[in-house]
């Protein structure tokens, strides 16, 4: 038996092992992998490990007690958010964003750009934070979203065309928010992210006001 896999086939076939184990390869691929496994000790060992992984995943933690579908809750959420969600749920944030985006964008265009930071929500744990703090929201559009889609999105949240582009689909907007809680910030980002044109929306920094 060949203990030293060295063919190009090995590189290709070793990457198919997860799907060999889950049984979704087509017949031709399955038969190539099967034959290779018989000859390659490394792939045989990998396949055994993946079989163990599959077993662990499928036998995993006990199935949760699935609650009954709560249609009323779903419809209530629908009524509260509507389409588009932002206009009904977050008018105060949209208004604040308009004002803040104007101010902060000017600063960003001419001043040093703040470095991206990880989300540090744990530092914003008080029930309400100071009104003068700006929260920097970074949004990334889904690949292929047209430029006019970007513009429409910013209009819909009241930021117009003033968001600062970082690349062809990522922008930053500073939101000068009134007293908000940690949960409200997260909900706001979630609402943005639930929009089909948005891939991610994350608060990347908290920007203290310049005295």
């Amino acid at each position: 038996m060949n203990q030293l896999p060295q063919t190009d086939d090995h590189e290709e076939l070793v990457r198919l092992l997860p799907w060999y184990v889950n049984g979704t390869l087509d017949e031709s691929e399955r038969s190539r992998v099967k034959q290779h496994i018989e000859e390659c000790a490394e792939c045989r060992s990998e396949a055994e490990m993946l079989t163990e992984v599959r077993r662990a995943v499928r036998n995993g933690s006990p199935a949760p007690l699935v609650p009954s579908p709560d249609k009323d809750r779903l419809l209530a959420t629908l009524d509260n958010t509507g389409r588009p969600a932002m206009r009904h749920t977050w008018p105060w944030i949209a208004a604040a964003a308009t004002i803040a985006a104007v101010t902060i964008t000017v600063a960003w265009q001419f001043g040093p750009r703040p470095a991206a930071q990880p989300v540090l929500f744990e530092t914003v744990t008080s029930p309400a934070v100071n009104q003068s703090i700006n929260y920097v929201l970074e949004v990334q559009f889904v690949p292929g979203a047209a430029t006019e889609t970007h513009g429409k999105f910013f209009e819909s949240i009241g930021a117009g065309e003033l968001a600062v582009p970082l690349n062809d689909r990522t922008y930053r907007i500073a939101l000068g928010l009134g007293p908000v809680t940690l949960a409200e910030l997260e909900q706001y980002a979630d609402r943005i992210e639930s929009r089909p044109e948005i891939a991610t929306a994350t608060f990347v920094a908290v920007q203290l006001p310049v005295e």
Binding site: V14, R15, L16, L17, P18, W19, V21, N22, G23, T24, L25, E46, M49, L50, E52, V53, R54, R55, A56, V57, R58, N59, G60, S61, A63, P64, L65, V66, P67, P69, D70, K71, R73, L74, L75, T77, L78, T81, R83, P84, A85, V119, E122, V142, P143, E186, A189, D190, E193, S194, R195, P196, A199, T200, T202
Partner: protein, 195 residues
């Protein structure tokens, strides 16, 4: 015989889902609740595995259905409706896992981490623990492949990534799990020697 009956049943469900999505695109709320009822249990189980929280899982399922409501008009039938819906579930789950790193940590049973006096964990426990510590994209790839049993093409559709990216994620996930299993085996060995 059995195989063809299964395919025909799936096709039937797909066409019913497709009809519901068309109605939802026309803002038919009854169609949304019907689709919700059909997918609720599957979606709940999937996101619960990732969040380990009933309340968060319920909230995520709600968010997923809300996203379906908003984007049903964009569904063009390039994939099965179920693949498209799980694509939305994937993105929602990934966002949640990526953002709440602290919360993810809290889901781990830290008191069950290896310690000299604790009984050794079964192999499956080690594997599960290893999966929980993978980066979100790799962990979700493992769940999609082994829990939902998706083909690489389906995973690529759900995650909106090229097939090669999907294979690479699984390759890295497999390598990390292998390293962890080897480390756990060493830990178990030294535990045995100490006793």
């Amino acid at each position: 015989m059995g195989g063809s009956r299964k395919i025909s049943q799936l096709a039937g469900q797909d066409s019913e889902d497709l009809a519901l999505l068309e109605l939802i695109a026309a803002e038919d709320r009854d169609a949304l609740t019907e689709l919700y009822a059909r997918y609720h249990a599957r979606l709940f189980k999937f996101v619960f595995r990732l969040t380990r929280s009933h309340s968060v899982a319920e909230e995520l399922v709600n968010d997923i259905m809300l996203a379906v409501w908003r984007s049903a008009g964009r569904f063009r039938g390039a994939s099965k409706p179920s693949t498209w819906i799980f694509g939305i579930a994937y993105r929602q789950a990934l966002k949640r896992l990526s953002r709440k790193k602290l919360s993810i940590t809290s889901y781990l049973e830290v008191d069950a981490l290896p310690d000299k006096d604790a009984p050794s964990l079964e192999q499956e426990d080690w594997v599960r623990r290893g999966i929980e510590t993978l980066p979100p994209t790799q962990r979700l790839a493992v769940e999609l492949v082994f829990y939902l049993g998706l083909s690489y093409d389906e995973v690529a559709t759900v995650t909106d990534c090229p097939v090669n990216t999907v294979k690479t994620r699984m390759f890295h996930a497999r390598r990390k799990l292998r390293e962890q299993l080897q480390a756990s085996a060493s830990a178990a060995d030294s535990q045995g020697e100490d006793k």
